[in-house]
Symmetry: C2
């Protein structure tokens, strides 16, 4: 019934206009892809036929099959799609990826789903030349799915233990160590750690046992870096509360409640992400605690928001944009050996850290 309107579902193929123009489909194809090699008169005839029949140009679906290359790279996470536009770290990373893609003319396909089954299907059916995998929650599954596609892929921000997967990350141990060192140098001795997930789906204070079996090596490495430095100055690290969050506001606040409920409240907080650190800043302010005179806070990541927070956040800056660029490069020239890059981080001292009171 809907077909009453002009009665056709646009089945206009290149072959149709070739017939209409009285040329072979080979020639018709040339009119669009290499117009210079077909005689002007013929070219115009074909163009006119295309115009008349409402032909929208060669369908990329067809071309794709022959050409093999999609000219787009997929960026995958196990978060909902909006993660790409809402998470500060993801946004900066995507900006880096964008730059590299713009430079090479590649497109970006966002591949993602919070739902597990949907995610698998989306990865299996993504039309891309390769994947950049954001390893936050569900990282290992994601890597597994990407690997199954047998396309080039690179894991981001993951201290993957599996040397066979290409990965781009930072030196988490060194970075965390620098953060802790900065605070111990200032004289702090009572610490608390706001940790990223060690494994999927749980939050709360973590035990050494849980750290040992951590799924996420990156989280473990940062903790290792923190604790290494703390024990160096003689702090009993078994007394340092480590609260695992889901890197969102709610679980971070819960962590802060727990941490500050204890007798010996810390004078310094080591947060494994700027996102958590920024939440902490807000929470401390609401609680009437001054930063940095009551509590110092040091983040990790170096997102732009850290520059303009109240007070501006001391943090370990990752070369996020550069990582994004490298990732794209790794996909596009993915012939060589699996590329594993470990980039340096940098301590950026701002106003959220200072000597402890007294």
């Amino acid at each position: 019934m809907a077909s009453l309107t002009a009665g056709n579902r646009r089945p206009v193929r290149l072959a149709d206009i070739a017939k209409a123009a009285g040329v072979s489909h080979g020639t018709a194809s040339n009119v669009f892809s290499r117009p210079e090699i077909v005689r002007e008169e013929v070219r115009e005839r074909v163009r006119a036929a295309a115009e008349a029949m409402g032909y929208g140009g060669p369908d990329p679906k067809g071309r794709l099959l022959r050409a093999g290359k999609v000219n787009a790279i997929g960026v995958a996470t196990a978060e909902p799609l909006s993660y790409f536009f809402e998470d500060p770290f993801a946004r900066v990373m995507m900006a880096g990826i964008s730059q590299a893609c713009d430079a090479t003319g590649a497109g970006i396909s966002l591949v993602s789903a919070a739902n597990n089954e949907q995610l698998a299907w989306n990865i299996q059916s993504a039309l891309v030349d390769g994947f950049i995998v954001f390893c936050i929650e569900g990282g290992s599954r994601l890597v597994e799915l990407a690997r199954e596609r047998k396309l080039p892929f690179v894991a981001l921000d993951l201290a993957s233990e599996d040397g066979s997967v290409a990965a781009i990350g930072v030196d988490n141990i060194a970075g965390a160590s620098m953060a802790a060192r900065h605070l111990t140098d200032l004289g702090h001795r009572r610490f608390a750690v706001l940790a990223l997930p060690f494994a999927d789906g749980r939050t709360g204070l973590v035990s050494p046992e849980q750290v040992r079996v951590a799924t996420y090596a990156g989280t473990r490495d940062r903790l290792t870096g923190y604790l290494q430095e703390l024990s160096r100055v003689g702090i009993d690290i078994s007394k340092v509360p480590v609260y695992e969050t889901a890197n969102d506001a709610a679980s971070t606040k819960a962590g802060l409640e727990t941490i500050f409920a204890s007798e010996a409240a810390p004078t310094a907080i080591l947060a494994m992400s700027d996102r958590m650190a920024l939440v902490a800043l807000e929470w401390l302010h609401a609680r009437g605690l001054d930063v940095p005179s009551d509590v110092s806070v040091v983040g990790f990541d170096g997102v732009p928001e850290a520059k303009v927070s109240e007070p501006p956040l001391t943090t370990i800056a990752q070369p996020i944009v550069e990582m994004g660029r490298l990732a794209v490069k790794a996909i596009l020239d993915s012939d060589g050996p699996v590329s594993r890059h470990q980039l340096p981080v940098e301590l950026i001292v701002r106003a959220s850290s200072g000597p402890p009171r007294g």
Copy 2:
């Protein structure tokens, strides 16, 4: 030379494993797409063959051609790709689009290029089921290119005059009018307007003539709304400076310089975007002018940043997320007539506006 390593460029097709497993390609296909209809023994044999030969599952490229649907929608702009992750308005809009896509399981393809030729090619070859077109700079060209693909598409944030293109926008005249009304009610009589582009590529004070031939009807409508209200209270609108910017920091600051260089500096600024308004806030502060006691500022868009600026920004909020959702819906059920939605806007009064001094 590179082919020494195992000497093959992965030409493993479904047909290959079918042959290896001793079944027809039809059956092999079924093993992956409808496993329940093939006998277990056969299924396992095929699966084993696939595993052994390193087959990564049915290639979506092939499936696509047959299926016809990509299951992804393209979002197009004439800006570089990073625009999606850096512009506040775009980010909120993308969040809305993401939500709708998550809900329906569709993917998102970012289609964009600052370079003209590249842009055309990218749109022509994008593997998508439809386009959502961000009409900022280069809007008309973009719409033209999208139209040529003969795919469903919807223009966002564009008061397109051409009734044949689906579009989702807000009532720009009413919104602008509300903004101006708010300020006239407060007692303001000396105004300046920071305008979005009327046409591509130029900035500076605009003449009525330039307004008349504006490419962007949305910009013109907002101006109409402002001026309608101003003349209603008896202001000589020919004296109101209207400075056209490129909606970036540089040209906005240039506009402010121009505006405040004049004898009778305005007591109120009407900015056609929050982005400009926020730049204005900063510029005025740096210049030593207090907002709102020296100058009131009212923006347009309602981006999240407006809530936390110093001072918080009075603005006309668009239902950005809702627009994103509607756009996706328009693409996905694109059978009906071209859908043109005009959504309402809302005046949000914050601290950046107040009565003029004296």
